[in-house]
């Protein structure tokens, strides 16, 4: 889809992410696009969405998009200046509804790799940061949403390293591993569409395709066999009101909006 016209791909994805967030829920959010989506949701349909940052800020009123999940910008007008252990323990107790993830690779079960590219852990071709809080949030929060560019290099048959658990090797695997019940990847928002996971097989399934994208585009850019929902939809486009709030209030400096979702 060309980055021209009424909205950009980034704007489409941020608005689509915002639509996933219900009011009065708790959301553990990092920096970048997910945070823009959460701020947009707060300014539209989810006034009392509770934003939590893994480093310890609880329910802030954000004035600008933070660079660091521990920075001052995550703490403005917060209800609590707490700590990472309090946040992570709230997730482990079952009090946190949403979290957002990214990664270098994702497989059909939603497993994510942000640790290394290559075959040998001791001598990686590319060393990446590691889990950070991603493994924790994907293990403990009720619904995790991954935002990731849609290419064959990222949507792979097998991730080089399972940093963060999706459904591992399929149905029942999370429970067998000891992870909390009824958790796991909820949605994958890519540059081509919105994916969920088949309840029975836990395999990634396209729920909606972005405007101008074809089913074949998705097949061509996915390294594993992608499933498609019977009632395949087209991703709803951002309203003018959403775009105005996003551009004027959420990210006036274009910190996130100016970025593209390409690697």
């Amino acid at each position: 889809m060309p980055e021209t016209g009424r909205y950009t791909l980034m704007e489409l994805m941020i608005c689509a992410t915002a639509h996933l967030l219900e009011d009065g829920k708790t959301a553990l959010i990092g920096t970048g696009a997910p945070l823009a989506a959460a701020m947009l949701a707060q300014k539209t349909h989810a006034l009392n969405l509770i934003i939590l940052f893994e480093a310890g800020a609880m329910a802030p009123i954000l004035e600008k998009l933070p660079i660091s999940v521990a920075g001052s910008s995550t703490q403005t007008h917060a209800l609590v200046h707490s700590s990472m252990d309090d946040i992570m323990e709230s997730c482990q107790r079952g009090m946190v509804d949403y979290s957002f993830l990214g990664g270098a690779q994702i497989d059909q079960f939603g497993n994510l790799n942000s640790t290394m590219i290559g075959a040998d852990y001791a001598r990686p071709k590319v060393r990446l940061p590691g889990s950070g809080g991603a493994n924790d949030l994907a293990s403990l929060c009720w619904q995790t949403v991954t935002i990731i560019p849609h290419t064959r290099r990222k949507f792979v048959p097998r991730v080089d390293f399972i940093t963060t658990p999706g459904y591992l090797n399929g149905p029942g695997a999370r429970e067998a591993a000891g992870l909390p019940a009824n958790t796991g990847p909820y949605r994958v928002l890519s540059t081509l569409g919105i994916m969920g996971f088949d309840p029975a097989s836990k395999r990634m399934t396209v729920l909606s395709i972005h405007p101008g994208v074809t089913r074949q585009d998705i097949i061509d850019n996915t390294g594993f066999e992608m499933l498609f929902a019977a009632d395949l939809a087209v991703t709803s486009e951002p309203s003018d009101a959403e775009l105005r709030i996003l551009r004027e209030q959420v990210d006036p400096t274009g910190m996130v909006l100016s970025k593209t979702m390409k690697e």
């Binding site: 920096t31 970048g32 940052f53 893994e54 480093a55 310890g56 800020a57 004035e63 600008k64 660079i67 660091s68 999940v69 521990a70 920075g71 001052s72 910008s73 995550t74 703490q75 403005t76 200046h81 707490s82 700590s83 990472m84 252990d85 992570m88 997730c91 482990q92 497993n111 640790t115 852990y121 001791a122 001598r123 990686p124 071709k125 590319v126 060393r127 990446l128 940061p129 590691g130 889990s131 950070g132 809080g133 991603a134 493994n135 924790d136 293990s139 403990l140 390293f161 399972i162 940093t163 963060t164 658990p165 591992l168 695997a173 999370r174 067998a176 591993a177 000891g178 992870l179 909390p180």
Partner: protein
């Protein structure tokens, strides 16, 4: 059952830790000293080091530079949410092993080229963890326990390349991960206020520093300012660290620069970007370190080289958080 594959760098033996803490001085003495004095006295080659804050937020830059300046060797490091702090130590070549939940990455600022080279070359022995898993290792130590149960890392390669072990809850049979206590040999934390004995206040979020300060065998504090002990007795609810945890107190105004210090000053993004750029190859990196660290006598010299008080004043003006007004 996944067998533990990663190396355990520090012993979780609580009896050994108790024996150490029994001998740790609780004396209320004036612990002020310069950063070079504190580092020289409390950091030794081979030590396992942990740093407070969050990589580009509230870090003890002066102490990190001094460790590089003194060309320490074979330090272990706890890479918990580490960005610029890891960058300084990795670039300085002082590390030989590292527990990792987050290194090399710089959050929204990209990746550290030299950090990547260091790990990709195999020059650093590494063990994987998650932020919560590694944070709970501090908490286990702070609680005087050899491990804490956790429900993270399970089923992943992060677990496979960690040194955690799987256990079963004796009450419900629930499978759990046991993360071993982590007692760093030395921790360094930058705080807002401290008194001459080491009582310390951190403003804003604490990240994992309450647990880290209690887990560490030796604890160095750098602070924005020294305040009277009376201030702690007037606001005991605000004391983050009591003095008996602390071995040295160094007054370093602006001490988190170029990282941000909540309620004080924001980060110096151009300088942080220049640091990443300097890492593009070994030659430019060594020239950069020579100029920024090895030929500057101390943190004041480093600060002066990068704009000094004038630059710090700009960063103070740009800080989003304001101190709360007095209580009614």
């Amino acid at each position: 059952m996944v067998e533990p594959g990663g190396e355990l760098f520090q012993s979780p033996d609580v009896e050994a830790a108790r024996a150490f803490f029994r001998t740790k001085s609780r004396a209320m003495t004036d612990k002020r000293m310069t950063v070079p004095e504190a580092v020289k006295r409390f950091v030794h080659d081979g030590d396992y080091l942990a740093i407070g804050g969050f990589g580009s937020v509230r870090i003890p830059t002066a102490a990190l530079h001094e460790i590089v300046r003194r060309r320490y060797r074979n330090l272990g490091f706890c890479g918990h949410s580490s960005t610029h702090d890891f960058q300084i130590l990795a670039d300085g070549g002082v590390l030989d092993r590292c527990d990792i939940s987050y290194i090399v990455g710089l959050e929204m600022r990209g990746l550290s080229p030299h950090g990547r080279r260091l790990v990709e070359s195999g020059a650093l022995r590494t063990t994987e963890w998650s932020n919560a898993g590694l944070g709970w290792r501090y908490k286990a130590a702070a609680m005087g326990l050899p491990f804490l149960p956790a429900r993270v890392m399970l089923g992943t390669d992060t677990e496979r390349f960690s040194a955690a072990r799987e256990i079963t809850d004796p009450f419900t049979g629930q499978k759990l991960l046991a993360v071993p206590a982590l007692f760093p040999d030395v921790a360094i934390i930058h705080v807002h206020q401290a008194d001459i004995y080491g009582n310390a206040q951190i403003e804003g979020i604490h990240i994992v520093d309450r647990d880290l300060a209690r887990a560490a065998k030796r604890l160095l504090i750098t602070c924005e300012r020294i305040i009277p002990t009376e201030e702690f007795r007037r606001h005991p609810e605000r004391t983050t660290l009591p003095y008996w945890l602390v071995d040295a107190v160094c007054e370093v105004p602006g001490g988190s620069y170029p990282a941000e210090m909540p309620f004080e000053y924001t980060s110096d993004e151009p300088h942080l970007a220049a640091w990443v750029a300097a890492e593009k190859d070994e030659t430019s990196l060594q020239a950069f370190l020579e100029r920024q660290i090895f030929t500057t006598r101390d943190f004041a010299g480093y600060l002066a080289l990068n704009g000094g008080e004038a630059r710090l004043a700009e960063l103070r003006a740009a800080e989003p958080l304001q101190r709360p007004e007095p209580r009614g």
